[in-house]
């Protein structure tokens, strides 16, 4: 019969733990490395700064939607309507500004107001989602699914399905300008990701998303104002999606009736392969970012490689599947 005493809490393994914990969210890093190597074999242009910059710019709007969705998923909710906000918010905001002949409402507000209006509209959509979900205790999935149709329907109805081509320069600026040799969209997206990473890692408000997503009742019992925080998250999600719409509009030079349509699947894919759980309370913004990068790199490599159109989807899906397995093996933990 031993009489060993419980050893004092060892300090050494602690440090290792944190590191491991952090790595768990970065299981896609090996995948990214594999892709970078594979890409460099596919085409020498792949690893050039120009091409990689393009990849980042192409992904920046989607990345913002992923950021918004990741915040909402971590807090244990869903928002499918983000994709429709990407198109509707810029379209409607711009319609306040441009003349009737160009498809506007005829109000012709100053062009400079278009971006603030756009963000406001995004926030309003988020607030309305939050209202329906929290006040009526409806399922977030299904409310935002309906809202996805409603919001896009609003754009279709108001624009009569037309694309908007004559946009104020100020509205196109963010999505098309370059700052210090890099597209402004990359700077903006990068900055927002940095803010979110810091907020979710080191700020009370950010941490409360994990608590709410992990166990909302416990969060409430610990004094977190769950409904209020969730509402804020939906609003922020809407604003960020609207900003994604601004960047995308600037990149494409016009707003088609389909802007954003179909993005939400990719946003979910990126967030989830990046380690954000659909069950809430799990994953990091940095992980979600790696998810976006994987998707962007795969698309870029496939384009460079020139895979025949009819086989492209198959190859694309298969690579995602393989990436999942690599990240699963690298991560060691079961996914959910």
């Amino acid at each position: 019969m031993t009489t060993t005493k419980t050893p004092p809490v060892a300090a050494v393994p602690q440090g290792r733990r944190i590191q491991l914990g952090r790595f768990r969210d970065l299981t896609l890093v090996p995948v990214i490395i594999v892709l970078l190597i594979a890409g460099s074999f596919v085409d020498p242009i792949f690893l050039t700064p120009g091409n990689l910059t393009n990849v980042l710019q192409q992904q920046s709007a989607l990345a913002l939607v992923v950021l918004a969705e990741a915040l909402i998923l971590i807090a244990g909710k869903f928002d499918l309507s983000l994709e429709s906000t990407v198109g509707m918010a810029p379209a409607v905001a711009v319609m306040f500004v441009i003349p009737v002949a160009a498809g506007g409402f005829g109000l012709e507000l100053p062009g400079i107001l278009a971006i603030p209006l756009c963000l406001l509209i995004g926030g309003l959509v988020g607030a309305f989602n939050g209202f329906l979900i929290m006040r009526f205790q409806l399922s977030a999935f299904i409310v935002t699914l309906a809202m996805m149709i409603v919001v896009h329907g609003l754009q279709l109805g108001l624009t009569q399905g037309k694309s908007l081509f004559e946009l104020p320069e100020s509205f196109l600026y963010l999505g098309s300008a370059s700052w210090l040799g890099l597209p402004a969209a990359i700077w903006i997206t990068g900055a927002l990701f940095a803010v979110a990473i810091v907020a979710l890692g080191y700020f009370r408000a950010g941490r409360s998303l994990y608590a709410i997503g992990g166990n909302a009742d416990a969060a409430r019992a610990a004094g977190i104002r769950v409904e209020r925080v969730l509402w804020a998250v939906f609003v922020i999600g809407g604003v960020v999606a609207a900003l994604a719409g601004v960047l995308e509009t600037g990149r494409l030079g016009g707003i088609s009736a389909n802007q954003g349509v179909g993005w939400i699947f990719m946003a979910f894919a990126a967030a989830v392969i990046g380690g954000v759980s659909m069950d809430g309370g799990k994953g990091t913004i940095l992980g979600a970012l790696t998810g976006v990068l994987v998707i962007g790199l795969v698309e870029n490599i496939l384009t460079l490689k020139g895979v025949p159109g009819e086989w492209k989807q198959l190859v694309y899906g298969s690579i995602i599947l393989v990436a999942l397995m690599i990240s699963r093996l690298a991560g060691g933990k079961a996914q959910d």
């Binding site: 031993t2 005493k5 809490v9 060892a10 944190i18 009370r204 941490r207 610990a222 004094g223």
Partner: protein, 498 residues
């Protein structure tokens, strides 16, 4: 210890979870027909052994035998179920199914179509047999912890298995329910059923078990007949050191001490009514009552988890908004909820983070939370409450039940509360931990807090300066310190009052 027939043997079991070794070459052997206690501090590895003995987990090393025969392969669940039935420590109730179906899960019928009517009848009969006052048709998710536990017990005992494991079945039960369980266990033993019983209440062990094994730090320490291991030696075996009994402190509550928690004319339909209550600084007030007396509902209303229909709650002089936890916390309240899994902690978050959520605003400026300061607070809590863990960054999900409970208390104490409400704080907590938990409550009171302690456990209630007895939703008696067990039980059962 040797004996002709071993109903079950576990030999040289080692089980690791990442950096944690839950079992380290530990074993147990239980003679057929006896009721065998497995004791050990929180995190000693008891529940891990249970999961291995019931085929839910594969040991890294070692072997399990039933009646001398090797255990069936893990995949063969039916074979395991024939050999062993179990009340797990962690709920195995399926909340979205009815009580009746939970009782007969995966055996609703022998073959063919399920006859729901006869299933309900069987369920009702079973509940009746165990004196469980639960409607067979309600969703199990709508039951309270206590009722859920009773359903689990009824289910495990109803299998007709020859070997039954009960992992802390009594932690959530009140006295009469425990006695009903024991009567049932005795009857089973008379029929030759072997049982393994886990509990942190040593008196229960002496009452119902013939032999006992003690685990400590993942190892087997001793196996003996209960008669050969008196109370103190048992405790010493568990803790690995000489451990004194808890010393209840005496306090005198000044009549002028400020009232830190008060309820006026509080009423919640169906739960309680006409409740007036005042707890002074430096005072521990017990709240006791038999099942469904309304004590938990009252406590939950005091802390803001429920909203009273009428009446007011005042914390530390501030009248708090009904049904609003944050305002109660802001006024200086700390509390331990009844069901730690439900409202107690966020499983994926670390110990340090769980314990510091209410004080996150004090761990940094401008809304920032410094991880270093959080870890520091976490370490303090771990030391103060003696939490067995690899460190403050370990997720609470990975802790043993009792240690998780300590984290919940740590959260309640984090902000140096002026008023403390603790509901069944020692449920599932080992003897030594119980001392530190009760000690922590008394420390807080000595520092000037007032506390309400809701419990069915007489040992816990002994720290109270007075005990309020609830019966059918009303406070019927105010019992000062110095009561005897029978007095208090009689009061709770409603035998003595008018």
């Amino acid at each position: 210890m040797t004996s002709p027939v071993k109903a079950v043997e576990a030999i040289g079991i080692t089980k690791r979870f990442g950096p944690t070794t839950a079992l380290n070459g530990a074993g147990i052997a239980i003679t057929e027909g006896e009721t065998h206690a497995l004791l050990g501090r929180n995190g000693a590895g008891k529940s891990t052994l249970v999961s291995i003995l019931t085929g839910l987990q594969r040991p890294d090393e070692g072997e399990v035998r039933f009646g001398g025969q090797p255990a069936p392969p893990l995949a063969d669940r039916d074979a395991w179920r024939q050999r062993v039935a179990c009340v797990y420590q962690k709920s195995t109730i399926i909340p979205t199914l009815t009580v009746a179906e939970n009782l007969f899960l995966n055996r609703q019928t022998e073959r063919g179509r399920i006859n729901w009517r006869s299933l309900r009848t069987r369920a009702r009969r079973l509940l009746e047999q165990y004196g469980v006052d639960v409607d067979a048709d309600v969703l199990a998710g709508d039951l309270g912890v206590e009722q859920r536990q009773l359903v689990e017990i009824a289910r495990a005992l109803s299998f007709g298995a020859r070997f039954i494991i009960l992992d802390e079945p009594t932690a959530q039960l009140d006295g009469p329910a425990i006695q009903r369980l024991f009567a049932r266990m005795r009857a089973l033993r008379e029929q030759g059923v072997t049982m393994m019983f886990i509990s942190h209440h040593l008196d229960e062990v002496y009452e119902i078990c013939q032999s006992v094994s003690v685990f400590r730090d993942a190892r087997h320490i001793v196996t003996a007949s209960v008669d050969d291991l008196p109370h103190d030696q048992l405790v010493d075996a568990m803790t690995g050191e000489a451990t004194a009994a808890y010393e209840y402190r005496t306090r005198t509550v000044g009549a002028s001490a400020p009232v830190v928690l008060a309820a006026r004319n509080l009423r919640l339909a169906g739960r309680f009514e006409d409740v007036d209550l005042a707890v002074r600084a430096g005072e521990v007030v017990g709240l006791a009552g038999s099942g469904s007396s309304g004590k938990v509902g009252l406590a939950e209303t005091l802390v803001g988890l429920r909203k009273a229909d009428t009446g007011t709650v005042t914390v530390n002089g501030t009248e708090v908004k009904g049904g609003d936890v944050p305002s109660a916390l802001a006024a200086g309240l700390g509390f331990v909820p009844q069901d730690r899994h439900h409202e107690g902690f966020v499983p994926l978050l670390s110990i340090a983070e769980n314990a510091t959520i209410p004080i996150a605003h004090k761990l940094g400026r401008f809304g920032m939370v410094s991880p270093a300061r959080r870890r520091e607070r976490g370490n303090q809590m771990i030391a103060r409450l003696d939490i067995k863990t690899t460190g403050p960054d370990q997720p609470v999900a990975d802790l043993s039940g009792g240690n998780a409970q300590k984290v919940v208390l740590a959260r309640a104490l984090a902000d140096d509360p002026k008023a403390l409400v603790v509901i069944n704080p020692t449920a599932g907590v080992d003897v030594k931990a119980k001392h530190s938990l009760l000690g922590a409550v008394e420390d807080a009171v000595d520092r000037g807090a007032g506390a309400v302690l809701v419990s069915d456990e007489l040992d816990d209630l002994r720290i109270c300066d007075r005990v309020l007895i609830m019966f059918h939703g009303r406070i019927v008696k105010d019992v000062p310190r110095g009561w005897t067990d029978t007095e208090l039980v009689a009061a709770m059962e409603g035998i003595d009052h008018q």
